[in-house]
Subunit: 446 residues, 2 copies
Amino acid sequence: MEVRGPMSDIIIKNAGYIIDNSLKIYKNSSIIIEDNIITEIGKKTTLPAPEYEIDAKWKLVVPAFINAHTHTPMTLLRGYCDDRRLWDWLSEIWKAENYFDRTVCKIGAELAILEMIKNGIGLFADFYFHQDVVAEISVKAGLRAILGSTILGEEFVQQGGNEFLFEQAKKTIQLARTSELLLPAIAPHSPVTVPQEDLQKSLELAQKNNAFLMIHVSETRDDVLKSEDRYGKPPIEWLNSFGFLNYHKTFFVHGVWITDREVRLLGEHRNGFVYCPVSAQKLAYGGVPPIPELLKNGVNVMLGTDGPASNNVLDILQEMKFASLLISFDRWDPSMITVKDIFQMASVTFRKSYLPNTGLQQYAFADMTLINFRKPHLYPINEHRILSHLVFSATGHDCTDLIINGKPIMIAKKPLTLNEEKIMDNAQNTWMQLEDQIKSETQISN
Amino acid sequence: MEVRGPMSDIIIKNAGYIIDNSLKIYKNSSIIIEDNIITEIGKKTTLPAPEYEIDAKWKLVVPAFINAHTHTPMTLLRGYCDDRRLWDWLSEIWKAENYFDRTVCKIGAELAILEMIKNGIGLFADFYFHQDVVAEISVKAGLRAILGSTILGEEFVQQGGNEFLFEQAKKTIQLARTSELLLPAIAPHSPVTVPQEDLQKSLELAQKNNAFLMIHVSETRDDVLKSEDRYGKPPIEWLNSFGFLNYHKTFFVHGVWITDREVRLLGEHRNGFVYCPVSAQKLAYGGVPPIPELLKNGVNVMLGTDGPASNNVLDILQEMKFASLLISFDRWDPSMITVKDIFQMASVTFRKSYLPNTGLQQYAFADMTLINFRKPHLYPINEHRILSHLVFSATGHDCTDLIINGKPIMIAKKPLTLNEEKIMDNAQNTWMQLEDQIKSETQISN
């Protein structure tokens, strides 16, 4: 692996609790990071000349959190025309998105990446246009990013047609090769908004480049009905008919209305599945994906926040609570899903399947989040309660430090790689002026 | 009103946004508090000799949040045997609760009140035994508290019978008269766990003393079936048959499975109703109370966290998000409830009906929470997005300052009236030792 820029030796001393990639719990132990590799988890408490020495007596150290689905530039639409029905809301969002040029996307993505850092997220899968700006900011920030360049059917594209989108996607794939932090992806929007020809082209492009393939699927009942109407099959079955499921780096996102047969297909192919509980509730899709059955069938279930306009935050710790509670509610049974299942979706499932040499274990590239548990809402605490506290009581605000690829990204709540004040001011000044313009030009009332 | 102890003059300068009791928004304005009264909301920025001067440039000031239902001592059971079915879970909780003597209740309540202060909650309604310790700590902490002394049917009471519980309730009512911060209540557990005679006695006691009357109702389907089986009517209808609804200070808690007819009855009588969305999901009661209909019928709907064992936090800001999303999800329609409806449930509905001279308006006893919005997850911000940000993006962690009855309770995240470190240590040391004992004596496995 190529080493970029100066690496730091870090010692995390006497951590209250450590949870490693395999969910083993260590009490009062230390972590040594040399260059970007964890060389030891144990009782050693000295290192010759560490660049950072973190006293972690009141801290819990976990593999960094993963946000497996978002649309980073959309932070700018946080709280924009809430409380509306899906199509009403979407139509307002789309009008505003017409103004999302490269500069606007950059300002939105910066705000999103800053927010994710503060919430202890070390890797995110983005799904939007202008992934070159997302790449630029992720690398600057030091986060790992899956760059999902969106493909849409011709009729939805404003300028340049979808040839232009495929060009962008190819450029994104090239770009992802320039940093060890970046992972390429191609992101066809959905089986009902992208024609079969372009879906196949996307699949081939992904396979050829060993890129992730991410697609929204069966998000609304209408998605399923349209697919059955057009192709005689529900979306995942139809995608399977031309090889989508054979590719192990395919992520199906949402899947609120998938069938039992589709669950089994996903299991047989060991695909990725991203559950976004907050967004599904906020936009009122009405259903809950069959997570217990997906897990039982061996599907790689992960958690995503979805875009900030439909959440409205990028906090995987909060998402864990929503994920667990919605399943308990839906099944009338709190034992259908455990806090261990939920924590895995938020932190280690992705690594195990796709990036096993990262996270929190000896000889892994060090990706970890430190959480301050010396707070009233996390007491009392012991080994048996840690996962419950992470799922039901902690939020991203409790994350204090973030180390990705051995590099400190946030220390004691202070982001080291991005200018927090400047990013917030940029988002406020640029967007609010633009919002006035959009509202006057499109007659949106708030 | 009697003045207790020294009062402080406070000036909150140049607040980014202020939301008053009637939800009017002020931009870049100041608040003057003299003794314990708000004397001005406006542009004045000087006060002769303020004891506290708070620069609120990046802050949003709102009437202090209200937690309308909790069981404070149960913080000690936060994360204790999660992921179990309702009766399984309850049976473990009850075994542990046998060890909740006065001392244990005090340690738990201290932790709960500390947590609520940090989350910007200025008034809470408790529902548990040993309310004398809750009274002691609330007054020390400076929070307003509704002291709900529990009444249970004879068969559920371990020692002393329920005569003892009525004695306790009477003492609690006396105690509530000793401080302007305390409000008395009597809390019969539920229509299925308390016999009619004792329910009537509770109602009379409440009316005679102008106390609140709080009762869990129609929490599970079984509650409704039992009531119909025994009394030929669902719980609220039955309670109405002997006058419970005629008393305007009655709060019905949970009401997951109430009927349309019961909604109308509650509306006609302008009763209080407490919605606890997290607990209903965590314990998987399966339903959602008809909140839009309750609001339409004029019921005073408020939010509660329920006890920390079934949540597992005491954070009304988080509860707002769960409250809104669960209704959108249940109705397949995000327009059924607005962020304004939700914010009112969390902050001003209680005041309007029961304590109109408190909160955030001129000449009110000053009860307010300051929220730092200079954070990535609350940007961009403007007047149109504030309520959305409060409901969907903020959490209790964003609350920085709390002023209750004109007295600073927390300033810049530091609680002034309670010893944070000592309370966490007490909870940890006392309870964890006791937990080992409980587990060995009752064969609970974790």
